[in-house]
């Protein structure tokens, strides 16, 4: 199962990371590597678009938390785009919907 990751850095200061597929123990490391790479390259405002994600479990949550902490430590932030009820539910039952800022569209995240 492959994880699709597309990076769009054409709208500074934001970098949009669109994720597709299933984020679990097998694929989450690829997302972690990408977030670490972006932070090390100086990205500060990272928007992770989860609308193409079909499945996300606690391993994926851990990667997003790690990315957010890393970016906030650099005076940046990691925000999310997600409208899928099944994915939002994972954030809600862990209470992490209150730790992350979650937008309905990429445009809203860029304006936020």
């Amino acid at each position: 199962m492959d994880l699709g990751i597309e990076v769009d850095d054409s709208r500074p200061p934001h970098v949009v990371v669109a994720v597709r597929g299933e984020v679990d123990i097998a694929t989450a490391p690829k997302l972690r590597e990408k977030l670490v790479e972006l932070a090390s390259q100086g990205a500060k405002q990272v928007v992770v678009d989860l609308d193409g994600v079909e499945f996300l479990d606690s391993t994926g949550l851990g990667v997003l938390i790690g990315g957010m902490k890393r970016l906030r430590g650099l005076d940046g932030d990691l925000t999310l785009v997600c409208t899928q009820p099944r994915i939002l539910k994972v954030f809600e039952i862990t209470g992490l919907n209150r730790a992350f800022t979650i937008y309905e569209t990429v445009d809203a995240a860029l304006a936020g």
């Binding site: 679990d24 123990i25 097998a26 499945f55 479990d57 099944r86 994972v90 862990t94």
Partner: protein, 173 residues
């Protein structure tokens, strides 16, 4: 397993990350074919299973154990029961960290350990048994059997019925 008479399937997977997706696919397919479950409930079960398999595989990694992780699906009239058994070093449930409230900034120090709270939230019952020989997680969904108690074999037999003749009988009565 107490009370659940019928084994739906037994799957053994290597304790490797890429096989968790296989377990999700097999168990969700079995659940949908055997029980009258809404899509959301199947998604809940699939996520809980994924968390249990993830923990099982990580447990094997901790012990460098090459044994398989066993996933079983059983059912009775009222329940679908999914069991994930690993042969890792076991753990003490009482020693799991308690997460701070979500309003506490320290909450974000917990990048791991979210799996068991997620499991507890998604299934009707969960039990953990663990010792130095491994851990077994049992996930229970309370749900009716598929279509009026008929399993796939009985449903397949239905296809042999001459529906046109049955319809004619119905309208002529």
């Amino acid at each position: 397993m107490e009370g659940a008479a019928d084994r739906v399937l037994c799957l053994e997977i290597p304790p490797r990350a890429e096989f968790v997706a296989v377990a999700r696919l097999v168990v969700s397919t079995a659940a949908k074919s055997r029980r009258a479950l809404a899509d959301d409930r199947v998604a809940d079960l699939t996520l809980a299973l994924s968390e249990a398999c993830t923990n099982a595989i990580e447990a094997h990694g901790a012990k460098e154990e090459a044994d398989r992780v066993t996933v079983r699906v059983d059912e009775d009239d009222e329940r679908l029961v999914v069991t994930v058994e690993d042969r890792g070093p076991g753990f003490d449930l009482m020693e799991l960290p308690t997460h701070p409230a979500v309003t506490d900034p320290n909450r974000l120090n917990f990048e791991r350990g979210l799996g068991i709270p997620i499991i507890r939230n998604l299934v009707d019952e969960v039990t953990f048994t663990s010792d130095e020989g491994g851990t077994t997680v049992t996930l229970v969904l309370r749900c009716p059997p598929s279509i009026a108690g008929m399993g796939p074999d009985e449903l397949l037999e239905l296809e042999d019925v001459d529906l046109e003749a049955a319809w004619d009988d119905e309208v002529t009565q």
